[in-house]
Amino acid sequence: MRQRITYLIHNPDEFDPSQLHVKDDSFTLESVNAAKEHRLTFSLSELPQELYRVLRQCHELHIRWVTETPYASIPPFVSRLSPGLHAFFTSHKGNEADLLCPLLKKVFGDDLKCESPKDTFIGIPTLSERFSMSSASQYYQILPSLKNLITYIQQKICTSSDTTCHSAAASLLSAAYLDIDYDTISHALVLNAFWACSPTGNTWTETILLRQRAETIEVGVLGSERAVDEEDLAFSGFLTVIGEDSKPKPTRFSFPSRHHPLPFPSQPHPLTYTAYFTHPTGLHPTLHLTFPSSHLTSPDESCALHTYLILPSTLFMDKYQLSDPLLLSSLNLASLRSISGATDLEAPDWVVSQWGSAALLELAVPSSAPPANLHIHNRHGHGSGGNQNHTISIPLHLRYLPPSHSTSTPGLTTTSLPWPAVFWACRAEEAGAPMSVNPFDRVNLGYEGLFGPKTMFYHVPPSPGRGEGRLVEEVQVPVLDMNRAGGVEWGTVVVVLAGVGWVVWKLVEVVFVGWRGMRDGKRKGEGKKVQ
């Protein structure tokens, strides 16, 4: 097992190297105000049999979990994904990977909607096979907490006496996101957890122990710097390899990065977005994203604002509806760039086997008038007063959900939609090293494969202000209330049968009258003849 632990100092001015203490087999931090990334690399032999058997069925597997609680990102950990559990997966040729879903359920929770990769996962469209850097299929599930994973690690991976292992697993409870990566080429399982701040809310005071000589633990304490090249991220700070270095080694480095924070002299950048539904949502909820217009300036001419939506199967988007330019511009949308997954326009939720769908939308931005003139020229702003907001609307539709027996909310079922990821996608120049040299590079997020390889993402963070501090919107879905539907069954049958009876009676009357008329007529005719 190899470990790399990186602390990113929130405010480099407040940091003093004396807060770090290096010993022979340990590294101690004292009250360091920072974000933290902990990266563990396991070789396959270190894994339990159960995991190994599943990984053998995978060509690559990338699991991403993101918290529902808003968190502040810090370079280089700025990339964003919708909160919840994502899996990006490519199977070995011809392998159905039948063990994957059972394992996901076992590790992350029994209530995961996952039958098999073939039934439940959705394909990821790729720009071109040649440049494809993303997995073949994708899975998603709302998952508020990693409780199940923590229990799994504590029971299956930690030995019962290993308290360090138990508490390390428990610390995942406060992680902002967790990445788990495996691919056949590296033949290693990489676990990568990120904490936006210390679980206690303030600073990190902890000791990292080197427990076996064979282990490698590398600790970095870094501060973000201004990079010379706009496409680079630069850092300075201290690196320590526990057991090798006797004191923190000062360092300064930069690298081209795929993911960037919004460029602004001071952080945090004032541009954020808020997602919400307008009420009543009905069966056609419209998701709105609002931005403060004045800060909605593109980082570069080549950039376009995008949102990447993860839609659980209860909700869907109508790609045909979103093909009309007039409608798109009235919603402040530029285009629907990509949609994949469960896009059937008619199917009720219970016949959809896939987890849902994923869509990439390009958003319209107010015409690039200087901020001072925004009030006059910004036709798209929906806000009132001086603080203009730019609102975009995304029309969604609800599937029919199963009838409900619930008595607490009769006739209503709740479904959830995670906030989408929002970013500027910009063209990167050809010069310089590829982005993958970035030691903190993060790929397999679902959307980066929908762009060319030379694309940079400037991420717009969600605003923590609105809602109950959760980056998940809930929608009340009207369903058939089974408590009141008792009479429906026999009622319908009785009414239909009565209807049939009435019509048949009318027909019998017609036939009978006609028959009698004919008989009487003939009799009369015969009588006439006789006369």
């Binding site: 008619e346 029919y400 199963p402 009838p403 009207p478 209807g499 027909l507 017609v510 008329g517 004919m518």
Partner: protein, 426 residues
């Protein structure tokens, strides 16, 4: 108003102008408003046509559930600019042709004076609902022209043409197969000029009756319709390997297997929603038996009891029963029977007895409004109105329809039968 009905010229010009105005208005609304005048179905057709023009199957377009012929028929919509409206124009022209055929039938078979025939044809020709549906680009109007041509061909004894049209109509939209029963039953020997002096029915044995049933006209109709239907299907199936199975699946099987859970006017709707879902299990296997009352009434009982009295009214009753008892019912389906109203209304209780007529139409509209209100509360306000609201409204609407169907049957029963009429005259 009287002036309008004095000449076919006026009425047909008015019908054409009405549609032209709607077409032009529609293209303006489409061009300037995100809220489209054009029906979603029309985008489905034109998308499918575009796929065809690129050498792909029309079924590449989701929810395209029609014969490939329809997509081919509006092929010019793939050309740029105004050609997009080509299909709508064809549908509108189809509407007017259907109106013309209705007028012809009323004049010839109904022996009506021109102005009266025009008045009744206007139920179709000047009906804003009809004109709107076709100019919005729904293909239901096209069906109007096929079915009215079928009726015209039958009534004017063009049996081979009728057979062809029947086969074509069924290929186009399945439901016209119900007319086969009534037309066959109606085509008895004495309806045909050549066999006027057949022996009286009384002297025939059962075998003779059975043999007598098989007359040349019936055989011709059956053969022509079947051959047309099968030829079209085979062509569509083999025309290109791409259409193959999807054609069968989307044009035909879909209608058998579909469980249309989204709310609609059908009385079965709530029960189907309940039955098809995993949680709302129900003991009644409705999907399997819902076809029985519908098919029994529209293809057996009604044709047998009524077809020999008056064919157009019988077809109205059949269509009315078919739509009323259908598992799915939306307002476009009403167009299917509106087409037959001009033939039935002149002799109906609904017109003769003002209070019945007014009550029937008020109830028919009222129940729909009631349903629409519940539908609005569900769809846009998110209130769970499935029970009792929507269910009760659809049941009420069903009952009103049944009552009206009863009146139509009664009226049709009192018509026609020449023997009976002679007796009453005596």
């Amino acid at each position: 108003m009287v002036q309008l009905f004095s000449s076919p010229c006026y009425v047909f010009s008015a019908a054409a102008i009405l549609r032209a105005v709607l077409l032009i208005y529609g293209s303006f609304q489409d061009a300037f408003s995100p809220l489209k005048y054009t029906d979603i179905d029309y985008y489905v057709f034109t998308d499918a046509t575009r796929f065809i023009s690129r050498g792909l199957s029309p079924y590449t377009r989701d929810t395209y559930r029609y014969t490939p012929l329809l997509a081919w028929f509006i092929y010019p919509t793939t050309w740029q600019g105004w050609w997009f409206s080509f299909g709508k124009i064809m549908f509108a022209i189809g509407d007017i042709v259907a109106g013309w055929l209705i007028f012809l039938i009323l004049r010839s078979s109904g022996k009506m004076a021109t102005d009266r025939a025009l008045k009744f044809s206007s139920i179709w020709l000047l009906n804003p609902m009809v004109a709107q549906i076709s100019t919005r680009g729904s293909s239901e109007g096209l069906l109007g022209v096929i079915v009215s041509a079928l009726l015209w061909a039958v009534l004017t004894k063009r049996v081979r043409l009728a057979g062809f049209l029947l086969g074509f109509a069924v290929h186009f939209k399945i439901y016209p197969f119900i007319y086969a029963a009534s037309i066959i039953w109606w085509l008895e020997d004495d309806k045909l000029p050549s066999k006027k002096n057949s022996s009286p029915a009384r002297s025939k044995s059962l075998t003779q009756l059975a043999l007598g049933f098989i007359n040349p006209a019936r055989v011709t109709l059956a053969v022509y319709s079947l051959v047309t239907f099968m030829a079209l299907n085979t062509t569509m199936y083999y025309f290109s390997y791409r259409y193959g199975y999807p054609f069968i699946q989307h044009s035909y099987l879909h209608h058998v297997t579909r469980v249309d859970h989204r709310h609609n006017f059908s009385p079965y709707n709530t029960l189907l929603y309940m039955n098809s879902s995993p949680t709302g299990h129900s003991s009644v296997k409705l999907e399997s038996w819902a076809f029985f009352p519908q098919l029994f009434l529209s293809t057996v009982a009604i044709p047998l009891a009524l077809a020999k009295k008056d064919l157009p009214s019988t077809m109205l009753a059949q269509t009315f029963a078919f739509v009323t008892f259908n598992k799915v019912c939306t307002s476009q389906y009403f167009l299917w029977y509106i087409m037959f109203l001009p033939f039935y209304l002149p002799k109906s209780t609904l017109l003769r007895d003002k209070s019945t007529g007014v009550t029937a139409s008020i109830l028919w509209v009222l129940c729909q409004l009631l349903w629409l209100h519940q539908g609005y509360r569900l769809e846009f306000l998110g209130i769970s109105t499935f029970v009792p609201g929507l269910w009760a409204a659809s049941i009420l609407f069903f009952l009103v329809n049944i009552w009206i169907l009863g009146i139509i049957i009664e009226d049709t029963g009192n018509l026609g039968d020449p023997a009976l009429r002679k007796v009453t005259v005596d």
